[in-house]
């Protein structure tokens, strides 16, 4: 791009307004319900509907297909991830999964594919859908897929196992990434396709996202369901940005919990906040969150401007994944025993944030 922009950290008017709404929803609905959803290992349908109500999936859909026709905005999506992640990382991940599919369709599909699939997302209650990239291997690498797509006439036959898919049992369609003869490819697969099996799995955290496994056994999809312009690197990078933003939000929640607790909790006759050992942990949370946020914003803003952003997305994700875990564990530490019991959300943040190391491609912004 040839435009010459100044360094700028101001949100646009629209961003400010939509932020206000998201933040209110995060603090009034998401955060108060997060614990119950975690205990139930189920997303609250009203919460999912509430997030869908912000219309994130509608924004960039072409008007002809029932959307608002606005340009793709990774930066706007990042702000949403950050705000919602502060309320509840787990349910936000579940609620935003369809956005990842829409963005992938918009970026990688051709006109016919847009027309075939996007209208189903053009409503206040978009169909449940998710990107299926991660596979259950310790050394999983997006560029080294074991799920295969073999050409058979005018069909592809998909075989393999995908994991950590939010709301796996509710999803009506999946964007499955598999290795074809000519490289990584993405396919739209309907949940009722023969050979598709779905299964809930229990994880350390992200329980209210209802994650699970998708097994594909000889699943036949027409060639037309292979996305025309698939770019694995873009999918992975934009998802890293989205996950980093969710983590930034969740870490902000850790900090917001720690500040009042440290001011109130007394030991040896005074608030523990007045001891450097505690105060410095809190200072470091604030410092690292600032770095995470700015790295993520930079990557998103580069993506939005059409600049290369793979490196920036990678660095934002790496920094966020590692610093987030430090922040989460320090958050429990500040609370002491109270952080370990399930009365407070600290242990939940800790369990949820560890999930970042296992998620791939789950939230393309």
């Amino acid at each position: 791009m040839s435009t010459d922009l100044p360094i700028d950290l101001r949100l646009s008017e629209e961003q400010r307004i939509s932020r206000e709404g998201m933040r209110r929803f995060a603090s009034q609905v998401l955060a108060p319900g997060a614990r119950a959803a975690d205990e139930a290992a189920a997303a609250d349908p009203e919460v999912l509907a509430g997030i869908a109500g912000f219309g994130l999936t509608l924004m960039s859909l072409p008007e002809a297909l029932g959307g608002a026709g606005l340009p793709r905005s990774p930066m706007g999506n990042v702000l949403a991830c950050e705000d919602l992640g502060e309320g509840d990382l787990s349910q936000s991940l579940a609620a935003l999964a369809p956005l990842g599919v829409v963005n992938a369709l918009l970026d990688f599909g051709d006109d016919a594919q847009h027309e075939a699939w996007l209208p189903r997302f053009a409503s206040e209650t978009p169909v449940p859908a998710a990107v299926a990239l991660a596979e259950p291997r310790a050394t999983f690498e997006p560029g080294d897929l074991r799920t295969t797509a073999s050409r058979d006439g005018d069909h592809y036959v998909l075989d393999g196992e995908k994991c950590l898919i939010p709301l796996v049992e509710q999803c009506q369609m999946f964007l499955v990434v598999a290795a074809a003869d000519d490289g990584p490819a993405a396919f739209m697969v309907e949940a009722d396709n023969a050979g598709v099996r779905r299964e809930r799995r229990d994880y350390m955290g992200l329980r209210s996202a209802e994650p699970g496994t998708l097994t594909l056994q000889g699943v036949r999809v027409p060639v037309s369901q292979r996305l025309a312009h698939f770019d694995l690197e873009r999918l992975v990078s934009l998802s890293r940005v989205g996950l980093a933003a969710l983590a930034t939000g969740c870490c902000q929640a850790v900090l917001e919990q720690c500040v009042p607790y440290a001011l109130e909790r007394k030991a040896f006759g005074e608030a523990i906040a007045r001891r450097q050992s505690v105060a410095f942990m809190i200072a470091d949370m604030g410092i690292e969150i600032e770095g995470m946020r700015l790295l993520t914003w930079r990557a998103a803003s580069r993506a939005e401007q059409g600049l290369p952003f793979q490196r920036e997305a990678y660095l934002a994700f790496l920094q966020s994944m590692e610093k987030a875990m430090r922040i989460a564990t320090d958050g429990v530490q500040v609370f002491g025993g109270a952080g370990f019991v399930r009365d407070y959300p600290l242990e939940m943040y800790y369990r949820n944030l560890r999930g970042l190391s296992a998620l791939h491609g789950a939230l393309m912004v």
Partner: protein
């Protein structure tokens, strides 16, 4: 609209300063690390003139700025130049007979006459004393009024530029029993007979930069050489405000020091990447972090830390350029950049084995230079204190 890429004007400045650092500093970096003490390196004099000539005067003229428009001004310009110069050599940058910390103070609170008289000279700043480091409120150097003059007495140490400067901005107290509010700063010309150079320190790094100990004994200066008001505030609130004003200078200088760490760390990472490339190591982000080799992952981590620190520094400077209070952000970026610079340069030495430790390359020097950046202009721990006080809403009395 959110954008964290440098605009063309700042990129041009970056390129120009980079050239200066590459051609003016790098070739003599090792030489002056070994020479350590002496006068201003002769090679620096033309560079200082070039910089002075290139500096915009009289503020922003020309295009009428839209007051609502976002500004990328002198603070961001400062950050960008300092990073580039310190990529070349931090010690040499600090040895430029140009603007020292004293200049920043005079620029911030000086009278038009003071700016006229001292603005173009090289002014150092003397705060630290043998018994007062981070707690500048404990300063023991005294200033007493005697007719038309101030009389200063005390000992100052770790004064950057204290040997070679033209004048020193000296922090002294008018009445130690009144605490912070009685601390004022005074401009003392370097050739004042009442101010003696005691010694120039031998240091681990930043060797060519002169770090001086100065003794003030009945050092007399004219009354108009006090910076800011000479009144001692008489209410608690006014006292706080007065000292706060002194400390606010740091909101602008801390990001500058953070930028030093950016330059040093980037230099080390570039040299390391170059050396490793020759041995077949290339960190090209092609594999997920934990599927990468240990050495690749380490490089990614260092890059991420460097970039995070840089963006935080940009933000603090951007806020200052746009008239926003940035005390918290200034301390945040100094804390992050200070520890990042030290960590990156030390790891780079380790990653390159003998090549890193050897004086054949600059890595070992960068690792020696980086340490002080996490100490001067407020140590890591002081920055953490300031950030913690902001986040927790505690005063300096409540969180010590």
């Amino acid at each position: 609209m959110i954008n964290l890429e440098l605009p063309k004007s700042l990129k041009n400045l970056q390129q120009m300063t980079h050239q200066l650092a590459e051609q003016g500093f790098r070739p003599i970096s090792r030489k002056y690390d070994r020479i350590e003490h002496g006068d201003t390196p002769a090679e620096l004099k033309p560079l200082a003139q070039m910089i002075a000539a290139g500096r915009p005067r009289g503020g922003d003229k020309g295009e009428k700025a839209d007051p609502d428009a976002v500004k990328n001004g002198s603070n961001l310009m400062g950050i960008v130049s300092v990073e580039e110069m310190c990529w070349g050599d931090t010690g040499l940058m600090l040895s430029l007979p140009a603007s020292g910390l004293g200049n920043a103070a005079i620029q911030a609170v000086g009278t038009p006459e003071q700016k006229e008289q001292y603005g173009k000279l090289y002014c150092a700043m003397a705060i630290t004393e043998p018994g007062a480091g981070s707690d500048s409120a404990a300063i023991g150097t005294t200033a007493r009024r005697d007719g038309d003059e101030w009389v200063l007495n005390g000992e100052k140490i770790y004064c950057t530029g204290g040997q070679r400067c033209d004048a020193v901005v000296v922090w002294a107290t008018l009445d130690k029993s009144l605490g912070k509010a009685a601390i004022k700063s005074f401009i003392v010309p370097r050739d004042n007979p009442g101010m003696q150079l005691v010694r120039v320190e031998d240091k681990m790094g930043l060797r060519i930069s002169d770090t001086a100990a100065l003794a003030l004994s009945d050092c007399r200066i004219p009354l108009d050489h006090v910076l800011g008001s000479a009144e001692i505030a008489d209410t608690e609130a006014a006292r706080k405000k007065a000292f706060g004003g002194v400390m606010q200078t740091f909101d602008n200088t801390r990001p500058m020091v953070a930028a030093m760490a950016l330059g040093v760390a980037r230099a080390a990472l570039e040299i390391t990447t170059e050396l490793l490339k020759k041995e077949g190591v290339k960190a090209d982000f092609s594999k997920s972090p934990y599927n990468s080799t240990a050495i690749e992952l380490e490089l990614y981590r260092l890059e991420a830390d460097l970039d995070a620190a840089r963006l935080m520094t940009y933000k603090a400077a951007w806020m200052a350029d746009n008239g926003q209070a940035n005390s918290k952000e200034a301390s945040m970026c100094k804390a992050k950049a200070g520890r990042m610079g030290n960590d990156v340069t030390l790891k780079c030495v380790a990653l390159c084995g003998e090549l890193g430790y050897s004086e054949r390359f600059l890595l070992e020097k960068l690792a020696r230079d980086s340490k002080i950046i996490d100490i001067f202009e407020g140590t890591q721990q002081i920055q953490q204190l300031i950030v913690a006080r902001h986040l927790l809403g505690l005063s300096s009395r409540e969180l010590k």
